[in-house]
Structures are given as C-alpha cells and as structure tokens.
C-alpha cells in the first residue's frame, strides 16, 4: 500500500490540514503505521500536482487546508474496492533461506526448522499477549494485530509442512525431487559431464 492512497481515502471523508490528516490516518489504522509529517506534505504536493486534491478555503493563515477532488474521490474508491494483488516471486527471507538450506550438504535442517519455529511461536506469543491484555477496544488496531498473528500462524504451518515433506523424503515415502532437478556429478548423463569438463 502507498501512503498516497491511504491519505486520499482519509481525505474522502472531508477536508483536513496536514497535521490533522496525519493524526486521522494514524487513528484509523490503530497507530500501526506512523507517518513522518514531511512525508505527508510531500504526498499532498504530489496529489495536488496530479489533480486528486486541491487547496481549500482555509480559515488559518499559516496552514493549508486540503480537500479531495472528484478525480481523487474516484481514485480512493477504486483503491478501496479493488483486491490487493501480491505480484511476483517471493522475496521472503525465510523461504529463500530454507530453499537454499535444503541444497547445502551438512546442514541440520530439522534443527534449523525447529529454531525458526520456536522464534515464530515466541513472536506469536508476544502478539497474542498484547491482544488479550489490551482492553481499549480499538478495532482498527486489533485488526492489524490479528493480521500479523495470522501471518505468523501461516509461517508456523508452513514450517510444519516443510518438516513433514523432508521427513517423508528422508524415510523414502516420497521421492526426492532434488535428485531429478540437481543430479549429483556422478549421476549426470555422460554427454553433460563431457560438456562440463570442456
């Protein structure tokens, strides 16, 4: 998500000064995305340049009041109602690390997975404690917190899945896909070995 679309969405509710807009954005996202005021003004300048906001009639001589334009309202509505598409290959460090780790001889993958699982569970415990001890009734904050909890749960389940797959391969219940994808030198076809030797 960009700050641009978030601010535009807040402005669709009514005109705001820069500081007001920042406070309102943070209030509506449970304070989980703190904004730098400089970032807010830079974003507002760009939104104004693109015709999505304009300067309104301010009663304050120092501050500028910003209001959304019709085009800005359309853009905010489009963003709010469109699904979020997560594009491209994963850049998740854990996924990449484990993918690499299973190809490196001598690493204790089971121990590596358990160490990660323990850390993931520890983080999950922290967030769960935070959730169950907070009684402020801030729905926005709780939803963001729960999103983080579910992501950690998914990570834990994925670790279980990886461990299960590796166990089945180790026990010979599943073939090792690595054997086909990355044949060891001795298992390479003769022509390929000859090619590689040149």
């Amino acid at each position: 998500m960009s700050v641009r679309q978030g601010l535009l969405s807040v402005l669709s509710l009514g005109p705001n000064y820069g500081y007001q807009l920042r406070s309102e954005f943070e209030r509506r996202t449970g304070g989980t995305w703190p904004l730098n005021i400089g970032q807010v003004y830079t974003t507002l300048d760009r939104l104004e340049r693109d015709g999505l906001v304009r300067r309104g009639a301010s009663t304050d001589e120092v501050q500028v009041l910003y209001e959304i334009t019709a085009a800005g309202r359309d853009a905010a509505h489009t963003w709010l109602t469109r699904p979020v598409i997560r594009e491209g290959a994963t850049r998740d460090e854990l996924a990449i690390k484990l993918a690499l780790a299973v190809t490196i001889p001598g690493l204790d993958i089971t121990a590596l997975i358990q160490t990660q699982r323990s850390a993931t569970l520890g983080a999950l415990q922290d967030l769960t404690r935070l959730k169950r001890t907070d009684d402020r009734g801030d729905l926005a904050w709780e939803l963001v917190l729960e999103s983080m909890i579910f992501q950690l749960e998914a990570e834990s389940r994925w670790l279980d899945h990886v461990e299960g797959r590796l166990t089945r391969i180790r026990d010979g219940r599943d073939p090792d896909p690595g054997d086909a994808a990355h044949p060891r030198p001795a298992e390479r076809p003769a022509s390929e070995s000859t090619e590689a030797a040149r």
Partner: protein
C-alpha cells in the same frame, strides 16, 4: 518461595506392546506445571502429544518414570484412590465436548462432584458458580443440544474446574470450533488459569498455542524444544 508444581512428570516413558512390535509413545519426559500456568504441547500427528495427556491424567500408567499430581505419586495409588484423585484434582476437556446429552448444563458440571459424594444442592451451587466463570449462568438449565459448539465447550471447561480442581487437561479443545468461537473458548480457559488453575493444552494450531505461557514441542515421544513467553511485548503501533 516458588509454589509446588501441580503436575510433575519425571523421566516418563510409555511403550505400547512388547518385544519387536512395541511402540515407544513417550521417552524420558520431564515436565513441571504450576498454578497460573498454561502450557501448550505441540507436535506432528503421532508425536506423543495425546499420550502425554493421558499419562498426566492418570488414564494410562507410564512404563517407567513418575507422575506426581498435587504432591501425590500416581504410582503409589490404588485404582480407587487414583479415580478419586482424578475427580478432585483433574479436569478433562476434549475436542468433541463429551457432555452427557440427557443432562442439562448445570447437571453436567455438577456430575463429577455428585459422583464424589457431594449433596446435589451443594454441587449445583458450585456448578452454577463454575458456569458463571465461563459466562453461561443463564444457560444452566439447557441441554447440550440446545447450546452452540462454543457454549458446549465452555460447559466442558466449567466441568473441568468445578469444585476447585487444579489441573485442566485439554486435548484440541478448539478443534471442532470455528476461529472466532475457538478464541472465546481459549479466553475462558486462559481466564481459569489466570485465576489459579494450571492447564495443559494439546493443539496443532500455533495461533492457539500462543495463548500459553510455555509451548513444548514433542517429536517421536521426546520434548525437543520449548518456547516461553519472553516478557517483552512486541511494539505494534502506539498502543504497545
């Protein structure tokens, strides 16, 4: 001074069968749980999670090692004494609730007390108190079929703690419930622990295990790791 553990497992091993067909379910388990503590047990299917619970609850005797509940060595108890200890000290919560369909909620909760010789009126008073703690006092006279799954599990939790029993043994208590209802049940379980009970929660769900103070991981019948609440709350927004 640290309180004595409600449950202690000392080098507990459990084998099913004999000779070449024997299967090791638990191997050298050491575990202590104190009042006010919720311990989650996680592990893959067949890792020994449920075996640990049945041994801790005195339902199965370990092949070797000791189980000590509230200072009593289970190996020293005769069957009748063991049954009495289970009624007075232990409460079980199962995935499928295990309520008696022909009894109302309050009758289900008071049943273990009445089996232990309590007068019905006194047992019902205690049962009503226990139902209040899981916010079900108003459903006391309903039959299980008239309650939702989440409500039935809360009745099971009330039954597990009624009469001041000290140790709750919960085997996948949220397994048959949707996410939101499961969380209500966990909140109730956590509440009972925070009020002085101790509990073991067997679960495969990390999000539910995270309600525990400690998470114990079992593989091939052995405890292979433990994750404890670190006491440092993650910063999430400005509320933290």
């Amino acid at each position: 001074m640290t309180a004595a553990p409600v449950l202690r497992l000392d080098g507990v091993s459990l084998q099913y069968g004999q000779g070449s067909t024997s299967v090791t379910a638990l191997s050298g388990i050491d575990l202590e749980i104190r009042r006010g503590e919720l311990v989650a047990v996680m592990g893959a299917s067949g890792s020994g999670k449920s075996s640990l619970l049945t041994v801790a609850g005195g339902l199965v005797r370990p092949t070797s090692g000791e189980v000590i509940v509230d200072g009593q060595w289970l190996s020293s108890l005769k069957p009748g004494q063991l049954a009495a200890l289970r009624r007075r000290h232990l409460g079980f919560v199962f995935q499928d609730f295990n309520l008696v369909p022909a009894l109302t909620a309050i009758e289900n909760v008071s049943l273990p007390l009445e089996l232990d010789g309590w007068k019905t009126s006194k047992a019902h008073r205690a049962a009503r108190d226990a139902l209040s703690t899981v916010e079900l006092a108003e459903q006391a006279d309903r039959f299980p079929d008239d309650l939702s799954g989440g409500q039935q599990q809360r009745v099971a939790i009330a039954r597990a703690v009624v009469g001041g029993r000290s140790l709750i043994l919960a085997d996948e208590p949220t397994g048959a419930l949707d996410s939101t209802t499961g969380e209500v049940v966990l909140r109730m379980l956590r509440g009972r622990v925070d009020h002085g009970a101790a509990a073991i929660l067997v679960t495969h769900d990390a999000r539910h295990a995270a309600w525990a103070d400690r998470i114990v991981f079992i593989r091939d019948g052995r405890i292979v790791d433990e994750s404890a609440y670190r006491g440092v709350e993650t910063m999430v927004g400005r509320h933290a």
